[in-house]
Subunit: 535 residues, 2 copies
Amino acid sequence: MAAAAAGRPQRWRCWWRCWWRLLLLLPPLSAQEMRVADTPRPPNILLLLMDDMGWGDLGVYGEPSRETPNLDRMAAEGMLFPNFYTANPLCSPSRAALLTGRLPIRNGFYTTNEHARNAYTAQEVTGGISSWELLLPELLKEAHYVSKIVGKWHLGHRPKFHPLKHGFDEWFGSPNCHFGPYDNKARPNIPVYRNWEMVGRFYEEFPINLKTGESNLTQIYLQEALDFIKKQHTSQQPFFLYWAVDATHAPVYASQRFLGTSRRGRYGDAVREIDDSVGRILQLLRDLGIAESSFVFFTSDNGAALVSAPTQGGSNGPFLCGKQTTFEGGMREPAIAWWPGHIPAGQVNQQLGTIMDLFTTSLLLAGIQPPLDRVIDGLNLLPSMLVGQLTNRPVFFYRGNTLMAVAMDQYKAHFWTWTNSWEEFKQGINFCPGQNVSGVTTHTLQDHTELPLIFHLGRDPGEKFPLSFRSIEYQKALAWFRLLVSQHLATMIPGQPQLNVCDPAAMNWAPPGCEKLGKCLTPPESVVVKCFWPH
Amino acid sequence: MAAAAAGRPQRWRCWWRCWWRLLLLLPPLSAQEMRVADTPRPPNILLLLMDDMGWGDLGVYGEPSRETPNLDRMAAEGMLFPNFYTANPLCSPSRAALLTGRLPIRNGFYTTNEHARNAYTAQEVTGGISSWELLLPELLKEAHYVSKIVGKWHLGHRPKFHPLKHGFDEWFGSPNCHFGPYDNKARPNIPVYRNWEMVGRFYEEFPINLKTGESNLTQIYLQEALDFIKKQHTSQQPFFLYWAVDATHAPVYASQRFLGTSRRGRYGDAVREIDDSVGRILQLLRDLGIAESSFVFFTSDNGAALVSAPTQGGSNGPFLCGKQTTFEGGMREPAIAWWPGHIPAGQVNQQLGTIMDLFTTSLLLAGIQPPLDRVIDGLNLLPSMLVGQLTNRPVFFYRGNTLMAVAMDQYKAHFWTWTNSWEEFKQGINFCPGQNVSGVTTHTLQDHTELPLIFHLGRDPGEKFPLSFRSIEYQKALAWFRLLVSQHLATMIPGQPQLNVCDPAAMNWAPPGCEKLGKCLTPPESVVVKCFWPH
C-alpha cells in the first residue's frame, strides 16, 4: 500500500475478487513455470520443519557466530525468503496449518476457552486433526507420492489422529513435545513411534540427558531421512519427506559430537547438528543424482522461544519478541527454497509467504489441484520462485480465536496486542526479554481495533515506531486494512475448536504396540475438563 | 576465557606480556602471510568508512530488505568480520582512533568536562588532532603512498588541524557534519574543501534538500574516488584512499536516481547509493587490473543512530541500543575485507577486531613499522585474514574519559552503564528505542566496577541476560577482566583532552579560500567556554 501499492489498486482489487482464478489457471502449470514437465515424474518434496528456530539463527540471516555453513550454502544454491511467516506463534497450530494449507482458526487448531489464547496438543488434550481436513500427504497420493513424517507430529496423539490415518505411509517420531522426564504415574513419558506402533519412550529407550544436553535423536532422525530417500530412489516413486526435528525446542539437545562445539552454547550445538544434517540430506540428493528432481524447503514452526533464552532459546534477529506472540519475532521465520536447475541460485524472494503456501505449492508441484470445497489460505509460490512474479496478498495473524494482526505489502496492522498476563510476567515469564515498546508489548489484551497500530516493516522491521495516527500514510494503510479485514471476516467460518477439552485419561498411557514392549500404563479415570491456556 | 580460553591460559598470559614482540616479528612479514612481496610494490589501501551505518544495515548481516548486492558481493569475494568494533560510539573519536591506531583517551579525542561524556568536533570546538599524533597517511609516506581523503574529516576544523597538514595529499570534503542549514550569522554553514581551500558550503554550493532528502554529494564523493584511483593508477604510485562518506548520517540524503527506490525509506535510499558506489569502486579496481594489488576495507564509525530511526537511522541488527552507547549496538560495526588473490573469498573471520587495527594492518601492508614511541592499540589483522590465526585480545570501550566496558574472547564486562540522562530521555531522546534491559540500560551513570555486568556474547549477543554473579562462569570471567583492566589502567597515560574548550569564534567563519569565493564571514568576538556535552 502507500508508495508500493498506490500504483496498483486495480490489480490489488482484482486480486481480492479473483484470487481463486489464479489457482484454477495454474494447473496445468505453464512450461515456463514448471520445467518439471520435462522430467518423467513430479519432483520429490522435502519439507524440513524446525522447532522454535528463529529467523536470526542462521548465518545467512545474520547470526553473528555464523555456524550454519550448510544452510547458508542451501541459500546460496537456492532462494532466501526474508518475509516468510508461520501461521501461528505456537507449534501445533502452525504444523496443522502447514499440512492443511489453512489457518488454524479454520482447521480447528485453536481454543475458545478464553480469547486470544495459544493452545497446543499437550498430552491431556483430547482433540487433534479433524478427519474432515485434507492433509498434504493424503492429497499427494493422487500423484502416487510415498510420504514419510520423521519427528514431531503434534496434530493429536489419540489413535484416530495418527499420521498414518492422515495420508502418511511411514512415521518415525513422537506425537508430542519431548518434555519430561515424567514418572509414568501422574503423567506418562512421550512415546516414540515407528509407523503404527510405539517403539519406546523419551527418557527411556530414547534418552535425553537434561543435565548434559546429550541425545542422539537428531542423528536418528537424520538416518531415517537418508534411509527413506535411498529407498524411494530405488523404488522410483516420488516421495514426500516431512522432516520435523525438534532439537532446538527446549529441552534442547545435541549428540556428543556436537555438544560444546558452538560459540552459542547448547542451543548453538543443536543448530549445528541440524545444519550438518541438512547438509547431508542435500548431499545425498546430489549423490543420487536427484537434486534437480527434488524440491526442498526449510523453515520453522514459530519464532525463537525467548522465554527459554539464552541457553535454551534462539534468536529472532532484529525482530520484536518471540514465540507465543504475533509480533514479527513470533511469526517471521527463516525460509529457504532449494531446487537446483529450477529455482535460480542465490536469489532473494521478497514475496510475503506463509507456511500454508507450502501446502498449495507442493500440490501444484505434484500437478494436483488444491481442494476447491474449502478455503485454502496457501498461495502458490511458484510464480515468485520461478519467474520472480510477486503477488500482493494479506497475511492474517491469529492467536487462538482472535485476529491479532494483518500484514500486507510492507505494512502490518495490530488490532490486538498482548504478550502475556501481568501475573505471568511478574513470575518471570517474559516473551520479550529486554524489549518493551510502549503501548505495543502489552500485558493486557489490548483492543486497538478502532485505531490499529500500523508499522512499516521496511523502515521498521523491529516494530518499534508505530505510524502516527494523523499521518496520511496511516490513513491510507488503515483504509486498506479495514477492507481486508472486513472481507476476511465476512467469509470466515471457524472450524470446530480442537484444543478446548482436556482429560488425564487421554494421555499416552497405552499407545498401540505398548503390549509388545511391556510398557502399557494404566490410565487414570477419565475427568473431562476445559483445558487451561494461560497465555 | 571459560570454555574457549580455558585451554590456553599460557598463551593468553604470554600474549599479554609479549604482544609487542608480535609487531617486531612481523615486518618483514613472512612470505606465507604477505604474498604482496611478490608484487612490485605494496598494495593500494582503500578504507571505506561509513557514517552511522549499523551492523544490521547490510544484506550480508541479515538486513531483511537485502538491498546491498555490491557489499554482499564484496563479502562473498572477501572476508566478513562479525565481531569488529569501533573505538568509540561517536564519530570524531572513532575517526581519530582509525587514523592514529590509538584509543581516543590516548589521542585526545575526549572530554574531561564531565565524566563519561560523548564529545566530537562540533564547529565551536577549538581542539582537534594533536600535531604530536602520527596519522596513517603521514606514516604511509615512508613507503611513497599518495593519500587522499574524500568526505568527512572530523578531526578539527581550525587551520592547524587541516588533513593536508597531517599527511594527506588531497582532500575533497568537509571538516564537520553536514548539519544545517545555518544562517551564516549565528553559525556558518559547513565548508566543503578541495585540498587547502574551501570551494563552497553545504546548503549553498553543495545543496542538501532537507524536505526531499535529495543531494548529489555521494555521487561527487564517488567521482572523487574514481578519479583519484585512475590518476594514481596512471602514475604508478601506491595510494591510500580514505573514503569517508556521510549520506547515512542524519540528515540522510541520496541523489535523485536513488530517492524512493528502497523498501526501507530514505535511509535505505542512502544505503543503496553507497552500495552502488562501493560496487563501482571495486569494479574500477577490477577493470584497471589492480584488484589483486588493492586492499579494501569497509566499516563504519559507530553504530546506527537509533535516536534518528526509523526514517533517518539504520539498524544494529540483534544488538542492544545504538550510537552514543557502549552496548553492542553502539560499538559493533559491519566490516568486510577484500583483497582478491590474497584474502580467501567468502570466509568469516571471528577475530575480535577494532577500527584501530586498520592503522596497524595498513602500515604492515605497506611494509612500515608502526611507531614504537607510543602505545598503539591496533592489532595486525593479517594473521587472521591470511592464515586464519586468531589472536586473543581485549577491546576497551570508553565513553569520554571513562572505561565503560571490555570485551575479550566471547565475554564482555560492563563497569559503568548509562544511555543518557532521565532529563534527555523524558524529552524523547532515546538511544535504545523499544529496548530496556533492567539494570543495564540505565539513565544514570551507574557504577558496576565492583561487580561488573558480564555477558556471553556468543549465547547472548543482544546483551539481555547478564551472567549470574554467583556462577562459576562469572567468577572466572571476572578474574580475567580484573587483571586485564588493572594492566590496562596501570599503563594508561591519557592524552591532552581536545574536546573541552568551545568558542563561537572558532567556527568556520572564514576558511582559507573564502576570499576567492567572496564568502568570508566575520567571526564574532572570542568567548572561550567549557563545551557542554549532555550525554
